[in-house]
């Protein structure tokens, strides 16, 4: 018996859980540092609930890791449909919070179905692409059905309005079809469609405040009072960190409340202010280790579905991390996307937990169950 457990532990892939833990430790220290002064708003206790969420995410991750990947495949479509239905419910009866309806309240439980959709979409696309003409590069016609699978939830999420998550879904889609291989013609066609729909979207699909963000991005100094203010303050925070940072708990930008959402979208700015360029380099390496490990796993599994799934999980992590870092440092307009395992937030923490669980499960399936 003892032997079997040892055997099991030897074969169990702890690399993803370890990677998650290492980033989380950096994250929770940073969260503590950036909020410790906010005693008046009660935010100073936030790191405690973040730890609770992380423990929960670990339980979820470990639980998911024991599910056979074939089960994911079986539940891919039903899971997608249920999540889509939940998003639809949010649209018609969702709880309005901070000007946007994202929450679905069922008794004591508050759900954010758009969060589930990230994983739901990955499962659904993986299932779809693992069966449809898997061996040749995708032509444009091959993208119609998966395109719909992506766009329906994406548009519903944007209507909520949650532009960030909507964009994220589209990025996940692009990431996966890129992996699935595209013909050059398809890439060109997609480029044109992207440009045209982008212009249309900008003119007709966006709300005023969303449009304003894009203006702000192009010239933050023009509208320095509104969202431009955040962009400028964020850049000041990052820049003032210089090479080595101001040190733990020494962010003046955070303590003077220059930065809004210290604890969610702008954690990376605080991290940069306190730990400087080399701190960020360290953090980015932690993320790269996780991504490279995921991509390596994608190339070493036996089933194509598993491979697509792992790529999807990598897509979720990468898109979050890249978009968040880019917007905070002024490379992209400001949209509300959390930094994986660093930003405060229960729902997103659970999503990343599920992702880590899926990756571990697939990794284990290579040697644990055979």
């Amino acid at each position: 018996m003892k032997q079997t457990i040892l055997q099991f532990l030897k074969r169990y892939d702890f690399s993803f859980l370890g990677s998650m833990l290492s980033i989380f430790i950096v994250g929770v220290l940073n969260l503590y540092s950036s909020t410790h002064a906010d005693t008046a708003t009660g935010l100073d206790k936030l790191y405690q609930s973040q730890i609770m969420w992380f423990l929960l995410a670990n339980i979820v991750a470990v639980t998911v890791s024991f599910i056979n990947p074939k089960t994911f495949e079986r539940f891919a479509y039903p899971g997608y449909v249920v999540t889509l239905f939940l998003i639809f419910l949010v649209l018609i009866m969702g709880k309005v919070g901070m000007g946007a309806q994202r929450w679905l309240v069922l008794g004591p439980i508050r759900m954010q179905p758009s969060e589930f959709m990230k994983m739901g979409l990955v499962l659904c696309l993986a299932r779809y692409f693992s069966r449809v003409s898997p061996e040749r590069p995708l032509g444009f016609k091959d993208l119609i059905v998966p395109g719909l699978i992506t766009m329906i939830p994406a548009i519903m999420v944007v209507i909520q309005p949650d532009l960030g998550t909507g964009m994220l879904l589209v990025f996940i889609f692009i990431f996966i079809i890129f992996y699935k291989r595209l013909t050059w013609r398809t890439i060109a066609t997609l480029g044109v469609i992207g440009l045209v729909s982008g212009v249309l979207m900008y003119n007709f699909g966006l709300r005023d405040y969303q449009r304003k963000r894009i203006h702000t991005f192009i010239d933050p100094y023009e509208d320095a009072k509104g969202s431009g203010y955040n962009a400028i303050q964020s850049e000041i925070a990052i820049g003032s960190g210089r090479l080595f940072g101001k040190g733990f708990k020494n962010s003046s930008q955070a303590s003077l409340n220059y930065l809004p959402e210290n604890h969610t979208d702008f954690v990376f700015a605080i991290f940069n202010e306190e730990h400087g360029f080399f701190g960020s380099l360290f953090l980015i390496i932690l993320y790269l280790v996780l991504f490279m490990r995921l991509i390596w796993l994608a190339t070493s599994v036996q089933r194509f579905f598993d491979s697509l799934m792992v790529i999807g999980v990598a897509a979720i992590f990468f898109c979050h991390a890249f978009i968040n870092m880019s917007m905070v440092s002024g490379l992209l307009p400001i949209v509300g996307i959390p930094l994986p395992l660093m930003s405060y937030g229960g729902s997103s923490m659970l999503t990343f937990g599920v992702g880590i669980g899926i990756a571990t499960s697939i990794s284990n399936s290579r040697n644990l169950f055979n």
């Binding site: 002064a37 005693t39 008046a40 708003t41 009660g42 709880k95 919070g97 901070m98 898997p134 061996e135 990431f175 890129f178 992996y179 291989r181 100094y221 023009e222 509208d223 320095a224 009072k225 203010y229 400028i232 850049e235 000041i236 925070a237 990052i238 820049g239 003032s240 960190g241 210089r242 090479l243 003046s252 303590s255 003077l256 220059y258 940069n272 202010e273 360029f277 960020s280 380099l281 980015i284 993320y287 790269l288 991504f291 490279m292 991509i295 994608a298 190339t299 070493s300 036996q302 089933r303 194509f304 491979s307 790529i311 990468f318 890249f322 870092m325 880019s326 440092s329 002024g330 490379l331």
Partner: protein, 657 residues
Amino acid sequence: MFGEEELVKIHKDRATLISYIITACFGLILARLWYLQVYKGETLHNYSIQNRLRKEVVWAPRGQVFSRDDQLIVDNVPRFDAILTPQFLQEKDDTIERLTKILELEPDAIAKILKKNSNQATYRPIVIKKNISFAEVSKIETQNFDLPGVSVDTFISREYRDKEVGAHLLGYISEISQTQLPKLRDRDNIDYRLGDFIGQFGIEEQLDKYLRGTNGHEFVEVDARGRRKRYINNDNLFKGIEDEKPVSGMNVKLTIDRDMQLAGFNALEGKIGGIVALDIDSGEVLTMVSRPSFDPSQFSRGITSDYWRSLINNKENPLRDRNIQEHFSPGSTFKAITGIAAFEEGIIDENTEVFCNGSYRLGRKVYHCWKKEGHGSTTLVKAIRESCNVYFQKAANRMDIDDIAKYAKAFGFGTRTGISLPREASGLIPTKEWKKKRFGVEWQAGETLSCAIGQSYVLTSTIQLAQAYGAIANGGKIYRPYVVKDIYAPNGDLAKTFTPELLGQIKFKNNKTLKFIREGLYQVVNNPRGTNFYRRGQGIQMAGKTGTAQVRSSSADKVYQKCENMDFDSRHHALFVAFAPYDNPKIAAAAIVEHGCHGGSAAGPVVEAVISTYMKKYQPQMYLDNLEKDKLVRENWVQSLRANPAPKKPSEEPEDE
């Protein structure tokens, strides 16, 4: 076809490509960070250290509240606090000494305050003295440069012009509490923060969303010590920075009349109780005062614990509203409803005579009339006028409690009036079904007799009584009472206006019912034998009913004990409800005086004061005409006294249960 494993292999080059792309993306971010942190690092670092542009909340001025005659009753007044930020203190002892001198404090007062707050972050300002004078403000401002770390915090205090008058109606504002925060965020979809002030009671609570306005923000430049710089010198980084002006809250005009409020308040001096007056043709609340009261201004900037304790520990409970948040036994004021029920059900008519010998026996229980020797032969009008228990009990004995309840409910008793104020009490009108449900016991016939004279389970609030007597006066129209007339946008435009809401129209089977009930109510006040004759006032032609509600049920030997001789807490509650003027009614009012013993002498003057004020102010012609009529009443009385000297002013107040 390829096998699964081959498929994975086919995509290996893509995976490699993706890993390059990911690396490149993070390379891009690192390049950006390098640009910000190394290339522009020095500049941005200086910005963060020296050029502290702080975004500060500018509180929206809360809307003002006016009375119906456009008198300002709730206003915002600027006040100043002296604050100190420990982080920026230099030459601590010297600064503290100077500040102590300016503020004329005890030598060690500041040290004590600092010690008390020593565990909080040093950049958080500490309030040294609240509400400092203009002279002190200017001294601190002029010495600003010698007093690093000391500054003046301006805030807007909510001031209630008449202090305690109508405090329960107006309510107060105070800081949102930790427990309210999540609830209210959900309810209002406003991102409240700790430190936000919200309406907590009365109008302030009910109309919070109109009154509160929208906060703005401004950018203030502070130097490295946190002192505000007077002039913002925008460098290129912050060009075009603009403040966002707050949007003032909306102004509210109440249906309340300020002079009548004062009259009611003064009339309740030294008493525990409340008065409500309604316009009977609309349901507008003209007066709503409860005493003892509290000063809502005290809440608007952190109530002192001494004041709070004095409110909480006061046995008379000044925070409790006696008009809508409380219900009482209506006592004899309920007899009008019993009378209407009996008349409508055909049990009595105006000529029905009942003999009152002072008590009425049902089964083994004896029900006493308040008048020990009895009223003798009694008609409806006389029964109301002299508040004969036996008359109404005999009538009630031929009815069912459900019959009485039917009429009582039609007059609005037993349900909330729906006045838009928080925490209204519903009152209670018992039915057989209710008792079965509540106690699991059948209704007893004797209980009907108690309920018929407004005792036992029957509970009403003053606002319900005023509403019902208003309906008696206006022919059975039940209006929903309301306190807000108009809401005005900050620029003076009318944003919302409230109109009368007719809740029901009582249809009377017998067209004589109201005539004789009103006649009886008129005689209560204007006939020398009436229970309120001696508080009839001048020129107001009231018609009304006194009532006394037993606080504890008295044992037989104590029935005739003088109320004043009892313990204060056991004394009866006194009520008086009236409408006026009798021949052209405009206003209905109900007053309760807790432990006041006699409806006539305790509650009567309160109603009289409010109605007199109303008549003089709003119906001056009618008032003058009525003065003439009163002379007539007086002459008749004097004549009748000459003819038959019997009824003189009683040496004792009628007990009038």
